[in-house]
């Protein structure tokens, strides 16, 4: 951890009081943060297990990054809009997204993962790397046009930061003074490429080039992440100044359940970061500060398990959608153009044969 990285909680849970100055969280908030962290961890582990049991096609674990996601998600207002990549399950949990719907994406039931993105202020899972910060910028520009007091947050990783679209998104945001937070989770790896091979500079420093502030934060310190994101959100909404937040964290799991990370991720590194569990750190803090007792911790764990079981229940054995859904949402309107209507009829006829057979 370098001097330029903002942090409130040390590894052992002790507090840097100066850094904590201005943190607007009540005890109830502190406990809620813990609940979200526990739920995220439980769901994440459950989904990895589900994949190993053949119920999900492939799953990108967020384990190790819970603080970065929950802390930032919690700092947003009700009107704010999230633009995730494909690993932001912690943000989804914190923002009240139905995780069963979300996991149907990974099951291959349908694309998207988020029914009603506009209503939920949560955009669909974005697979083309680095493409979604532009959507965040665009939404934020649209909010300004309407005078809406809200900001957008676009999540991306250290790998994505190399994509041209990310540069364009930040540049547009700077020029148009769009109320958007660019939240980069630097988890050290882009599949097998370590961040040292991804970029020679420090990601948060790029903000200067675009004309707005950049900050580096300890991504495994949920309070620090919260504080920095909260400030960025206010800065965006009030001053229409974007912020680039680089949250330093670590990808404790493989890139996805299909990845063989033993080929490139050093064991010692994994072990070292394993000793820096963000949830563990936060628990120590909560216990030391007497914000929680054993009963609460147990209750939180039970709730987390129950949430994970809910996901399992909604996912395991779920059937595929009907074949006609293939043709339902290509264009708006109920009537398909002729070239599609023919294909739909043909596809359904073959599907019927399969059923009859």
């Amino acid at each position: 951890m370098t001097h330029d990285t903002f942090r409130i909680l040390a590894e052992d849970g002790t507090v840097d009081e100066e850094a904590r100055e201005g943190l607007d969280l009540k005890d109830e908030d502190l406990r809620q943060l813990y609940r979200y962290l526990a739920i995220t961890r439980a769901i994440d582990l459950e989904c990895t297990a589900l994949q190993r049991q053949g119920e999900l096609a492939v799953y990108p674990p967020a384990i190790g990054q819970e603080a970065a996601q929950v802390g930032s998600g919690y700092a947003l207002g009700d009107e704010d809009f999230v633009f995730p990549s494909y690993r932001e399950v912690g943000v989804a949990v914190t923002r009240g997204i139905d995780i069963v719907d979300y996991m149907h994406f990974h099951r291959g039931t349908w694309h998207g993962g988020i029914p009603d993105p506009v209503g939920k202020r949560f955009s669909m899972i974005s697979v083309p790397v680095g493409s979604q910060p532009l959507h965040a910028t665009g939404w934020a520009m649209g909010a300004v046009l309407d005078g809406t007091q809200a900001c957008a947050i676009g999540y991306f990783g250290d790998g994505a930061s190399s994509q041209g679209d990310v540069h364009e998104a930040m540049n547009f945001a700077g020029v148009f003074r769009a109320p958007v937070i660019f939240f980069c989770q630097n988890n050290g790896w882009a599949i097998s490429v370590p961040v040292e091979k991804q970029t020679a500079g420090k990601i948060y420093r790029r903000a200067e080039g675009y004309g707005f502030p950049g900050v580096r934060v300890d991504g495994n310190d949920v309070l620090a992440v919260y504080k920095v994101t909260r400030e960025a959100a206010e800065r965006a909404r009030t001053d229409r100044v974007p912020t680039l937040i680089e949250a330093m964290t670590y990808r404790m799991g493989p890139h996805s359940t299909a990845d063989d990370r033993s080929r490139y991720q050093p064991e010692e590194q994994i072990a070292e970061w394993g000793g820096r569990d963000p949830i563990e750190r936060y628990r120590r803090f909560l216990v030391a500060q007497d914000v929680v007792d054993d009963a609460f911790l147990e209750e939180a764990q039970n709730e987390a398990k129950a949430r994970a079981a809910e996901v399992r229940k909604g996912i395991a054995g779920a059937p595929p959608r009907p074949v006609e859904d293939l043709f339902k949402w290509i264009y708006t309107g109920d009537e398909l153009p002729q070239h599609l209507a023919r294909q739909r009829d043909e596809a359904l006829a073959f599907a019927q044969e399969d059923d009859d057979a």
Partner: protein, 429 residues
């Protein structure tokens, strides 16, 4: 109840995994997600968590065993309300022990590639084998429906397509319709030659024409054909067929009479109703007599078969021949109706021929051609009389049938056909 958990694809692009270490034993009670086993996918060590809460009934493999993706890994005894898996995942389908479910080969970003093709449900019909339905007039006389090849042929032959009835869907003119129309026409005296002098034209041989070509070549190449001829007085044959037409209400031509007589002859000369197994070096004498009746259609040569003709009367043979031919033209002909003859007869008389050297319908060994019945001068009781005369041509496989035998068979056939007594003894119905 019991549930078997099959090894799922672990997303590592592999087909199987080696059991490294079981974390449970048979009889153990296990919790959901409890580690069951470490498997080596040859790329990485993967821990597989239990998909069920229950008791281990069976571990399908010991340490060191290689298990294929989709094969049983662990059988559990679970509570009756354990979730029923209706998913499409290969793991799931295979989970219920369904060996026929398509297995998937895992890839980096998803369930993986399905191995092996699905079973087929449909069969194809080679072009040109679909028999034509009854010709109809085109729906819109202003616009003639015809395929490009038909148009070209019509143009070459100077035919106005509007004058032809099409047997295709909606009155579409098929090639066969055109050819039929052409064969019935007198050559136009002032018609321009189809092919410019000094040039050539190439016509592709496809579909049933091609099949026939291949079959004929094979028959010709493999079977030493000899044909023997017998000209007969067919007056009584003619008389009988008229009688039977009136009697039975079925249109009876001379052909069914000759067919039935041939069947009699074949009983006495079983080698005519046989095939030659060259590999085994054996003559295969057939117990049944299925007579093929070579018929020319616009789809090409079809051979409707009268099965067990020895048990059928002339009128029945006449009726069945007409029925099968119609069915064949309407595309309803079954393989049973169109294949499986043991001896064939061809009525070359319908296109005016008197005799010929028909090619044997291999793997049969004999084929009889019935020539046109014409009024000819004949000697009856020492006097010249006009009689209805026809020539029979019998081609036979000289590897197994001699000229003498063939001659004798022909004599027997002639004897029946020229004798009102023997003709009268043939089953009529």
């Amino acid at each position: 109840m019991e549930r078997t958990f099959n090894l799922p694809d672990l997303g590592e692009g592999l087909e199987d995994a080696e059991v490294v270490e079981w974390k449970v034993a048979e009889g153990d009670a296990v919790e959901l997600n409890q580690p069951l086993v470490d498997v080596n996918t040859a790329k990485a060590l993967v821990e597989i968590p239990s998909p069920y809460e229950g008791t281990i009934v069976k571990l399908h493999g010991a340490g060191g065993d290689v298990i294929e993706v989709g094969s049983p890994l662990v059988t559990f005894e679970v509570a009756d309300d354990a979730p029923v898996d209706e998913s499409i995942l290969a793991g799931a389908a295979a989970r219920d022990g369904d060996e026929s479910a398509p297995k998937r080969e895992a890839v980096l970003v998803g369930y993986g590639v399905e191995q092996g093709s699905k079973g087929r449900r449909r069969t194809l019909r080679p072009p040109g084998t679909r028999p034509a339905p009854v010709p109809q007039r085109p729906a819109d006389p202003g616009k003639v429906q015809a395929s490009p090849v038909v148009r070209r042929l019509a143009k070459e032959h100077g035919v106005d397509l509007a004058t032809i009835a099409g047997s295709g869907p909606g009155g579409r003119i098929r090639r066969g319709d055109l050819e039929q129309a052409l064969s019935g026409r007198e050559p136009a005296p002032t018609a321009a030659p189809a092919i410019s002098p000094g040039t050539e034209e190439r016509v592709p041989v496809r579909g049933i024409r091609r099949l026939i070509a291949q079959k004929m070549a094979k028959a010709w190449a493999e079977v030493p054909h000899v044909t023997t001829f017998r000209t007969i007085d067919a007056t009584w044959v003619d008389a009988l067929r008229r009688e039977l037409t009136e009697e039975s209400g079925v249109k009876v031509s001379p052909l069914p009479v000759v067919v039935r007589a041939l069947v009699e002859v074949v009983q006495r000369h079983p080698k005519l109703n046989a095939s030659f197994d060259t590999e085994a070096g054996e003559i295969v004498l057939k117990g049944s007599c299925h007579v093929g009746i070579a018929t020319d259609t616009d789809q090409g040569l079809l051979v409707p078969v009268i099965r067990d003709a020895d048990r059928k009367g002339i009128a029945t043979i006449a009726r069945e021949t007409a029925e099968i031919a119609t069915a064949a033209r309407e595309g309803r002909g079954t393989p049973e109706q169109l294949t499986g003859s043991t001896i064939t007869i061809t009525n070359v008389g319908t296109f005016g021929s008197e005799y010929g050297t028909p090619i044997i319908n291999v793997p049969e060994v004999a084929i009889l051609a019935l020539g046109a019945i014409r009024e000819r001068p004949w000697v009856v009781d020492g006097e010249l009389q006009p009689r209805r005369v026809a020539t029979l041509s019998l081609s036979f496989d000289h590897r197994i049938i001699d000229g003498a035998e063939a001659g004798r068979a022909m004599t027997d056939l002639a004897t029946i056909l020229e004798s009102p007594f023997h003709l009268g003894a043939l089953p009529r119905r």
